[in-house]
Each structure stands twice: as C-alpha cells, then as structure tokens.
Point group: C2
Chain length 313, copies 2
Amino acid sequence: MAYPELSAVTKIAVVGAGTIGASWAVLFLARGYHVAVSDPDPARETFVRDFVTSVLVQRTPSPADALSRLEFSASVEAAVEGADFVQESAPERSALKRDLLARIDAVLPADRVIASSSSGLSVSGMQSSLRHPERLVLGHPFNPPHIIPLVEVIGGTRTAPEAIAWAVDFYRLIGKHPLHLKKEVPGHVANRLQAAVWREAIHLVMEGVATVAEVDEAVRFGPGLRWALMGPHLTFHLGGGAGGMASFIEHLGPAVQTWWDDLGSPILTEETRRLLIDGCLAEIGDRSAEDLRRERDRLLSQIVALVEASPIL
Amino acid sequence: MAYPELSAVTKIAVVGAGTIGASWAVLFLARGYHVAVSDPDPARETFVRDFVTSVLVQRTPSPADALSRLEFSASVEAAVEGADFVQESAPERSALKRDLLARIDAVLPADRVIASSSSGLSVSGMQSSLRHPERLVLGHPFNPPHIIPLVEVIGGTRTAPEAIAWAVDFYRLIGKHPLHLKKEVPGHVANRLQAAVWREAIHLVMEGVATVAEVDEAVRFGPGLRWALMGPHLTFHLGGGAGGMASFIEHLGPAVQTWWDDLGSPILTEETRRLLIDGCLAEIGDRSAEDLRRERDRLLSQIVALVEASPIL
C-alpha cells in the first residue's frame, strides 16, 4: 500500500479530546495542518478550544489563524472524513479503543495510517478486528505531546512495515523524536522505565525513607538532570571515567546488584493511594494545578530547546 | 558538641582523588576554600591538578588564585591536619573506607564533621570502630559533584543530630541541595531509583526491545525531561489533569500494576556486561570520553542553571 506523500498531508483527525488529544491538536495546528477533533462529549469542545488558545497565544503571533483550522465534532466518522492521518487518543480502555478503531477503520480509506496514543495496550490486540489492520501503528506520546519530543512507534503482528515507516517519517517531519521499537511488550519502553522508577519511589515513601516531595527533589536535583541529557546507560558510561561502562560495572556492579535485591514491590492499595495523594498535595502546597501546568510547560519548553539545540549525541 | 561556625571554615580535606574527589575539590576551590587532597597514589596529583585546571579555566577569571589554594599529599593525616571539614571519597570498598575513616578520626579534633561520599555503604557500619562516631555523616554526591546539586545526608545509629544539621547547613551554604534522609537503606534514595530504572533499561536491551542507545533516547527525549523538572510523583500528579494523582491512579493505576508485574530482573552476567559495554561504544561512536565529559558538563550546567533560576516548586 502506498501511503500519502508527506507533503500532501493537510488534514489530521484527533480522536478523543482529553489532555493528550488536546495537546496533539496544538502540535498539529502549530505545524499548519487542519485538525478535526472528535469526542462523544460535546462539552469537550470548550475544553479543547480553551486549551489550544491558551497554549497558542504564547507560541504564535497569530493564534486566530491556527484556531480557524480547528474543527470539533461529536462524531468520530465526521472528524475522520477526508483526514490524511488519524491520531487516536481515547481513554485507555481496551473495549472502547477497539470499538473506536473499528469505526475509524470502516470509513477511512485504506491508504491512510491510524496511530494510537495508547499508553500500554498492544497494537496486535487492538488491530485484530480491523478491516485494514496493516495501517494501525502505535504512536505513543508523552504528556504534553506538544512539548515532549518522544513518540514510541511500533506495529502489531499484522502491521505493514510501510505504515510504520510512514508514521516515523511523519512524526520526524513535524519535529517529534520517533523511536521505532523492535518488540511489543506491555507498557512499551518509556512507560516501563517510568513504572520502574515510580515503583521504587513509592516504596521509599511507604518505608518512611523520604516524603513524596523529597523523593521528587532527589530526582530533580540529582539523577533526573543526567537522565534528561544522557539516559541511564550513557550516564553510567561517563560515570565510569576513562574506562566507561566496563569500569562502572567493575566498580559499582556488585553494589548495584545488592540494591536490586533490596528494591521494593509496593502495590496500589488504598493506603498507598492515600499517602501518594496527600504527599502530592503537601508537595504543591497552595499552587494551583493550572499554574503548575503552565510553569511546567514553560520550563519544559526551555529544557527541550536546550537539549535539541545541542544534543550530547 | 559544638561544630565550627560555618563562617570560620577555611580548610577542607578531600580524601581520595578519583573522579568524585577531584570534582569535590573543584567545588570547594570555586567557593574560596583551601583544599587539601590526599591519595596514596602520588600519580593522582597530576590527575587532580589537570582536572581542576580544566574545569576552573571555564568557570573563573582567575584559576591561578584557586589553584594556589590546592595542596596534594599522599598522606591522609597530612591532608586532614588543620581541616575544618573532611569529605571522604575513597573507593567503594568497606574495609578500605573503615580503615581510612579510622585514620582520619584518630587525628582530626572531635569537633570537626567527617562526611563520606559512599554510594551505598551504611554510616552505621562505617562508624562502628571510630573514636568519635557521632561526627560521621553521609554526604553522598552525584557525579559530577561540582555541577549536580543533590547531596544525600544521613547519619548512622551513633551520629549526633548536630553533626547532621551542620553538614546540611554547610552543603546548603556552598550551593548544594542537601536532602536529609530519614532512614538508612542500601543505596540511599537516588541510587535505588537509578538502580530501578537501570535494571529495566538493561532488561529491555536483553529482550531486544530496543538498543542501549535507543533506551537512552527514550529517556532523553521523553520522561527524563520531566524528571529533571518534577521528579516521578509530581510528573504523574500533573499528568492526572485537574484530578491530580487521584485521577492518575484511577485511570492508569491498573495498567501500571500490569507493567510492574512484567518488569525484568536481569543480573550482571558476562553476557549482559558485554551487551552493555558494546551498546555504549556503539552509542558514542567516534566521540572521545573526554569530549563527551566536557559536553556533558557544559549542558548539565545549563540545565542546572535553568531549573535553579526558576524551580517549578
């Protein structure tokens, strides 16, 4: 199947108008596309318009032009009509996603790629009942997608290599950092890494070693700074001095193994949930979520600009 | 015990002249202190002087002044003589550290604090044979200590609260971000979090989901950017939208639990070691370690300046 020339793409459908869908819409609008957003809840139109406006006002001299390219529909079929690409960002519920993808698949010409933003569902599972399973890929972003560059891309057992290649090229064209994974595993790559660090972060809170806010500080003023620049492996390679990773493993490998053996395995009980929620509320104090979100986006944009202008590799 | 007035501190002994010791020396020199470095290997003097010079040349208009405040000695007793504070950064071997700490303890007046940079040894264990165990604290930095703000501070069972308070105040005075942990656990806080993320990072490489370089990319262009700004808990609290952490757990908690259940537990076998070393070499290509280290320090300094000028909390 020949998918559209990238230069011929003009309209993108964003299916699902939650936090992720609205952020995708901002990105596509900022790149000059017509964007049709759909959500069964008509009240989401106001949310999307307000979100898009609040972000675009800070980023472009002419938000009115971008806003004129945004449509909203309660019908997924209407939004998908004439779209050159579909980015599905519905809630993370398997049955709901399958139903929605089937509806998109039923009306969208076979030569258009559909990407799912799913955090953890497998493409192989989601595509099984599609008429054209070969054009379904994962396009998993990180919140907020209009700022964080990473998109994880992978196909399922029935996805065509051309669809994967198209999605990778398209994401790269619009300034994202697509990463084509080699094997489907639950949670893909980055969410597994986040789950790993969060699991131990929760354990340390539950054990009374540090508060929610202190664990966050330990990351923000410590390893988080290196991860933003190098990731976990390169951080340790450079930590090994002239001997690199070999030297790091020789000197710290045995210690790391003892820490691994001691890591915790908390589960999200009601008690854990309570501690985490209270800990977050104590951490943010009297700051509003809206204020923090704006500040996060401002600072994240600066960090992204810095590492993209001059990546270490 | 009354420890020195912070304003009266003039000389600091840095025991152990490896990567960490040399970086501590840079920081103390840049803050105007006299610094006496000791290492049993006299060849380390050249390493330290070269390292200090190469960093200071970029940071201060008068490196000669700072260099004139640096002494080197093969004898730990000579370095510690007259010191107002000792930062021990010897290799991470228990017997060696205990011996060295006992020698420092034997000659240093009782009213001076000793901090160990140990990555994972417990203070309670290290202090057991000291004459003045109450003045030993952990002062665990992150490489490179002259740039990364975090220092984890904790006492052992026999450490005086005043010694901990003194170390916290001193580190804060010189611009570090000290974090006083509440409970001794192997690897403290940040190294456990690093171990958790690295364990899964290794697992994903071993499973063929992504290469060493790709796993690093997934972090650098994805969650690493958010960790640098917010840490793991606040990232998810803001990811939960208006509902915060409660909403995040409600929507993604069940998925996270399934990822936790699927995380890997690799061990550092010869095969793992080989894959990681080869993966790091492939990742850096023809870049020299020295070039990467310089670039890392330049970019890290910029990220630190950004988040310290305007922390999200």
